[in-house]
């Protein structure tokens, strides 16, 4: 007995050119710190099919045209947050941006804006990670609960309040979109504010006051001028600009009310 002949379009190790009708020019901003003094553009002609993502285009380059091209990717399904890049100047997840949308003119791919370029399309993201670590991104229980007592009760409505802000995949497109972050990288920035807000809004959490110190500070939310592009490019509809701007109001309230209501009167969280 034999297994059925495989599908008609079985791919050989290298796709046959006849199978691919079109070719698209992809310009890539290259930077190899050991050989380039500054980034340079390099153009590749990439054969493609209509369902190919920009990421697949880059993979084609790496596999067949130039193995030295470096970029981050993993899930290919817009959830791991690795593959953020500037596509024609717009911060995008390359795995869910499609080549056919740029045909025939071609496209230009650069590393995410506002971050230092480590190499080619890879940026240094230490700043983002340090910020993430600094905001206590975990539940600081309002009322501690033993495992044996089961779950905290949380109604769907209470969950809805923070759910959107918890969907952030840490892709940093919003940072590449925010000129205020580009001008001053000390600014806490949209994505991290979304995360901070997510915890502050969680009905199980009582740590808001500890997190607000950063919000109120000189590196905090008032660096934002409501450009709003962060929310525009966010691939997960997190609306990080909203998190930043809601907290301006929160912070301003606290700024004036702290004289009326002394600290700690409405929240038990200790410093």
């Amino acid at each position: 007995m034999v297994l059925p002949a495989r599908r008609q379009n079985r791919k050989e190790s290298r796709p046959a050119m006849s199978e691919i009708e079109k070719t698209i020019p992809i310009e890539v901003l290259r930077y190899r710190p050991e050989q380039d003094t500054e980034p340079v553009l390099q153009t590749f002609q990439v054969p493609f099919t209509d369902d190919m993502s920009v990421l697949q285009g880059l993979q084609y380059i790496k596999d067949y045209l130039d193995g030295s091209l470096s970029f981050r990717w993993s899930c290919r399904m817009a959830i791991c947050g690795s593959c953020g890049m500037m596509v024609n100047g717009i911060p995008s997840l390359s795995c869910k941006t499609f080549l056919s949308d740029y045909y025939p003119a071609g496209l230009r791919i650069e590393a995410l804006a506002h971050f230092p370029i480590e190499r080619d399309l890879v940026i240094v993201m230490d700043d983002f990670i340090e910020k993430l670590e600094s905001i206590k991104p975990y539940i600081i229980p309002k009322t501690p609960r033993a495992l044996s007592e089961g779950e905290y009760l949380q109604t769907p409505a209470e969950r809805d309040v923070y759910e959107q802000f918890s969907s952030c995949i840490n892709c940093m497109l919003c940072y590449a979109a925010c000129p205020q972050y580009g001008l001053n990288s000390k600014f806490v920035g949209p994505g991290i504010m979304a995360l901070l807000h997510r915890y502050n809004m969680d009905s199980r959490d009582g740590g808001a006051e500890q997190r607000m110190e950063l919000v109120h500070s000189e590196d905090g939310v008032f660096n934002c001028t409501a450009v709003g592009y962060c929310s525009e490019v966010c691939p997960k509809h997190v609306d990080p600009g909203n998190a930043v701007n809601i907290n301006k109001t929160e912070s301003a309230k606290d700024y004036f009310l702290r004289f009326v209501m002394p600290k700690g009167s409405n929240s038990g969280a200790a410093k």
């Binding site: 710190p33 050991e34 500054e38 100047g89 480590e118 230490d126 309040v161 929310s231 909203n242």
Partner: protein, 137 residues
Amino acid sequence: MKPRAIGKRRPYVRPMAGWWRKNPYFVEYMIHEGSAFFVAAYALVLLVGLLRLSQGEAAWNGWLFALHSPLSIAGHLLLLAAMLYHAWTWFNIMPITLPPIFVAGKRLSASAITAGGVAATVLASVILLLVVWRLTS
């Protein structure tokens, strides 16, 4: 996280110069930020008027006369356009600045919030016009 070693790394920091020219979204942002000049200009016109008013009838009439000049009218048409643009962009960004609003368990959409703002302006304008009309006729 473990701090990174330096090794052969040479992270390249790109300049920000001219950033706002590179994306239509930013160009629009700069333009709507620019509406502030017109808001300021109008406030100064009013301030002068207020000063003139406090200086007596002759001073006031001088100011009033100036308002009738074609140049002033043209200028105010420009101011009107800028004010309208300011109002529109202000409400356009408002969804980002307000906490999520839930109506009957569903989150109010951005366009609904913007529309609400525009409606508020229309309403406020009508009221203002009516008040002025009542006061002066």
